[in-house]
Symmetry: C2
Subunit: 146 residues, 2 copies
């Protein structure tokens, strides 16, 4: 096994391929993959602080800020000040956003079907566990070297 494979290059290829499929599904709706997740969460969980969204999505504040401004520009979500803590902003899906959401296909469902339908459940579980543990070790290493 090459070092490259040892380092998990298939995780990268899988990720890129799944993101490509997701984006091809969402392109007609002029939405990116993370924009879809934000809409998903706002449609199903109701208004959320940006701060909490960064935790749900596990991305940086600055990254979310850009995603949010794209969605606001498209008129799909609204940003409102939080009256209790004026630093924070509450995000809410707009009527236009909810209307669009109702017409969207579920790209996650599609990816799960295309990529893993009929695959041995135990092997999928092993794959998820190995990747989860490897990720944890990478994160611990980062913490330790700080």
């Amino acid at each position: 096994m090459s070092n490259l494979e040892a380092a998990g290059s298939w995780a990268k290829k899988y990720f890129l391929a799944s993101r490509a499929l997701m984006e091809s599904v969402l392109r007609p709706y002029d939405l990116g993959s993370t924009q879809w997740y934000v809409l998903y969460l706002l449609a199903n969980e109701g208004p959320v602080n940006q701060r909490n969204l960064t935790r749900m999505l596990e991305i940086e504040r600055a990254t979310l800020s850009a995603v949010v401004s794209a969605l606001v520009r498209k008129g799909l979500i609204e940003q409102m000040p939080d009256l209790d803590d004026q630093r924070q902003k509450v995000l809410q899906i707009t009527t236009a956003g909810r209307k669009l959401w109702a017409t969207l296909p579920d790209p996650i469902e599609l990816i799960a079907t295309v990529a893993f339908n009929g695959v041995d459940a135990e092997e999928i579980a092993t794959t998820n566990r190995i990747l989860r543990e490897a990720t944890q070790r990478l994160i611990n290493h980062k913490r330790g070297s700080k």
Copy 2:
């Protein structure tokens, strides 16, 4: 298992964590992860056409074009016209590039060690196979729907 996990969200997390570690290693040298791969290939394989590089790296022409121009800007590689085919450009590592390369750590080695050292080899093999097969199904799906 949630749909999200079914869709391979751990592949994404693993990829992002490994890229983050790679970039933190390379940051002191002002290099990105794909820039490192290009230097690696040019240092070990000698001069290469950009066209062939896109195949080795499995990225788009336009993507490579940006990576190459960053490396040229930093003076680490050179772009020379191919005399046989004037559309093509041949990439070559410069003296400065070779000098820098000699001082670089191997981030792939580090990632393989941190993420997978001591992990059951068979389970790693299963993970690679499952991801490879899933990736292939995603690519086939894309081809089929074109």
